[in-house]
């Protein structure tokens, strides 16, 4: 049997808005993936550490505070540093259009804003996961 896609849904920084993260976590689980949710207030180090421990294929970052340019990049940078950039990183939140392309350049493969159908996220992960 094929191994299920393993996803870490993570909340970096101090932001407490967890509605989106929880919904995505559940939607991915309903789509047959194995989902680990970090809970709130994670540093980049904690997120990457959990990703190693849980041997995940994907990290999904959720942030609505506006600090995505710093905190998403921190996670992507740390993964590169540890030669773990085969992990697919996606993100979502209140992210203006002009930041989306910048995030993609630093290694956030997919960025999903408000109004995204959960199937779009599921499909993106299935198509882009490296395993």
């Amino acid at each position: 049997m094929e191994r299920k896609i393993r996803v870490l849904v993570a909340k970096p920084g101090l932001d407490g808005h967890d509605r989106g993260a929880k919904i995505v976590a559940r939607a991915l689980r309903d789509a047959g993936m194995e989902v680990i949710y970090t809970g709130l207030h994670q540093t980049a180090e904690m997120i990457v550490e959990t990703a190693i421990q849980e041997d995940v294929d994907v990290i999904g970052l959720s942030l609505l505070s506006g600090a995505h340019m710093t905190l998403f990049k921190d996670v992507a940078d740390l993964l590169k540093e540890k030669n773990m950039d085969d992990i697919l990183v996606v993100g979502g939140g209140i992210i203006p259009e002009e930041d989306v392309s910048k995030l993609k350049r630093v290694g956030i493969a997919g960025v999903f804003g408000p109004g995204t159908h959960t199937d779009v996220i599921v499909d993106f992960i299935r198509k882009n996961v490296k395993k």
């Binding site: 920084g13 101090l14 932001d15 407490g16 808005h17 967890d18 509605r19 993260a21 929880k22 919904i23 976590a25 559940r26 939607a27 949710y37 809970g39 709130l40 540093t43 609505l64 505070s65 506006g66 600090a67 340019m69 710093t70 905190l71 921190d74 209140i94 992210i95 203006p96 259009e97 002009e98 804003g113 408000p114 109004g115 159908h117 959960t118 199937d119």
Partner: protein, 542 residues
């Protein structure tokens, strides 16, 4: 006769849907008649505005006497920038201020704390010391205008800074007016900006109640909030029930401390969401007033001021769409109208661009103009509670009340509000509702215009609010300079007095005010309390 005719009609012309429901899953009939409200006794259950049970409003004249306060929640970047935005809003007819703090401030960290990385000024303004507070309100007449501050975990400290700033400006603290949110229960339930565990958090809150009615009597020392519960995904009924449940919990804790209910209850205030289902929201506000009046009476309140529920409303941020952002103006208009028809005391209208970023000046101005049109052009303010007596509205108001009491019973069976939080009851209820809502949208069972229907290809780029890039650096330098130049021995002495008091059971407000007056920072003061009280870790539920 009506029923027979209706049945015959739908045989030949079926309705658009099998069932019609509110956002709280309350089933709606095709029509309401006197039969649906036959159990209502007008004087007992509806009555007159300004009179128990306050269903129709808290004042006899409502908006004929005085309009609601137009209070736009705002804050970003440095204290200097936000001060400019406040002046801009006041110049455009805003009548009250409302401060949004950034995440480090909400968690009681100074701007130079490692966990503040990337967050400076992002979703609010950074206030790390009395010096920042002074800049934030520079040239603003805080003796005349009221200020609401959305701050919870460190509310006592931020309030102390506001009081200290007033004192430094020779404004007497018994004349200043405003609100601190200070509602920790909904932080555990929904918004998640908590610091300390429940017990010491409740103690701090009751300290502010007591200090408030004694020395700052025009201040609302709490704003018991359903807004964030709703934004986290609850239904209208859950918002109503959980918020009122929290309110009753605060009253019980204050009474347990020995405070007299009629001393502190008049300064309790509330904060609700205005979401998409028009009539359900209006029924929610009306029911809230009646339930609160009944419950406070049961708890022994005698003064009329103690029984009446005053509340602020904000339109639903979570209902805004990133797609076709201009149409959010229409959503916000409808939601603002709900709040006004529901009898709100103050109102924030969201800006059209907020699903994408912090609002631009133009977007905020349009949001404020929306309120001004409702207030001064539409005529809806000319009579009190214009929907009162509508068969549907009164039936729905009763229904919301009934469902609220059902939740009260459930929470009671779990051992009360705090045990229910610790068991994850509210969190699970909200997550379920949020997921159900999302599924309905994804499966096109619930229409969101522009998202799952009437879509267009569009470029989502909007003019983005530019922040001063030097703001963070300036703030950090200011903090460094402050720490170097202040009288350190005075700071140390005040902080250790606070530590000692926190270990005992005195009211902490005077100690906190001394700390901030001597320019102890938010982070330093909060660290003392973290050390004594510990930090809260939440159960993770999804």
């Amino acid at each position: 006769m009506g029923k027979k005719y209706y049945k015959k009609t739908i045989e030949s012309f079926p309705e658009r849907k099998q069932e019609f429901k509110t956002l709280s899953e309350i089933e709606i009939k095709n029509i309401y008649t006197p039969n649906d409200v036959s159990n209502i006794d007008y004087i007992r259950d509806i009555g007159f505005p300004g009179v128990y049970p306050f269903l129709r409003g808290i004042h006899s004249t409502m908006y004929r006497g005085r309009l609601w306060t137009m209070r736009q929640f705002s804050g970003f970047g440095s204290a200097e920038e936000t001060n400019q935005r406040y002046k801009y809003l006041l110049n455009h007819g805003e009548t009250g201020l409302s401060v949004a703090f950034d995440y480090p401030t909400l968690y009681g960290y100074d701007t130079d704390h490692p966990l503040a990385r990337g967050e400076f000024g992002k979703c609010g303004v950074a206030v790390s010391s009395l010096e920042d507070m002074a800049i934030l309100f520079k040239d603003i007449p805080i003796d005349k205008i009221t200020t609401s501050m959305t701050i919870n975990g460190p509310a006592a400290i931020i309030w102390a800074m506001y009081i200290a700033n007033a004192e430094n400006r020779n404004i007497r603290k018994n004349t200043i007016g405003g609100t601190i949110q200070n509602d920790i229960l909904k932080e555990y339930i929904a918004q998640k900006s908590f610091i300390f565990p429940p017990e010491p958090s409740m103690r701090l809150i009751i300290d502010t109640f007591e200090y408030g009615y004694k020395y700052v009597p025009r201040w609302n020392t709490i704003s018991i909030s359903g807004y964030h519960i709703r934004e986290a995904g609850s239904t209208a009924v859950q918002e109503l029930a959980f918020t009122l449940g929290d309110g009753i919990e605060y009253v019980k804790w204050a009474m347990k401390r020995g405070l007299k209910i009629d001393d502190f209850a008049p300064r309790l205030s509330f904060f609700f969401n205005a979401h998409n289902n028009f009539f359900e929201e209006i029924a929610k506000y009306r029911a809230a007033r009646r339930i609160w009046a009944k419950e406070l009476k049961k708890l022994g309140a005698k003064k009329s001021r103690s029984l009446l529920m005053r509340f602020h409303t904000q339109t639903a941020g979570c209902s805004l769409t990133a797609q076709q952002p201009e149409i959010n103006i229409v959503r916000v208009t409808l939601q603002a109208l709900e709040a006004v028809l529901g009898g709100t005391q103050s109102l924030h209208t969201n800006s059209m661009d907020e699903a994408l970023a912090l609002p631009s000046e133009k977007a905020v101005r349009i949001a404020l103009r929306t309120q001004q049109i409702i207030a001064e052009e539409s005529g809806v303010t000319d009579t009190v509670d214009p929907l009162g007596g509508s068969y549907y509205i009164e039936w729905l108001t009763n229904k919301m009340e009934e469902e609220t009491y059902r939740y009260f019973d459930k929470v009671e069976r779990l051992g009360g509000v705090i045990p229910a939080i610790e068991k994850g009851f509210f969190q699970r209820e909200i997550a379920e509702s949020a997921y159900r809502y999302q599924r309905e949208v994804d499966e096109n069972k619930r229409t969101i215009v522009g998202v799952n229907k009437y879509k267009i290809d569009e470029d989502l780029s909007i003019p983005i609010l530019k922040m001063d890039e030097k703001g963070e650096e300036r703030q950090i330098n200011r903090l460094k300079k402050l720490r170097k130049e202040r009288d350190q021995s005075k700071v140390d002495k005040n902080l250790s007095k606070l530590r000692r008091a926190a270990k005992g059971n005195e009211n902490l407000m005077p100690y906190i005010i001394d700390c901030v007056h001597s320019y102890a920072t938010l982070g330093e003061t909060c660290d003392i309390l973290r050390e004594v009280f510990g930090e809260y870790k939440e159960p993770t539920i999804y």
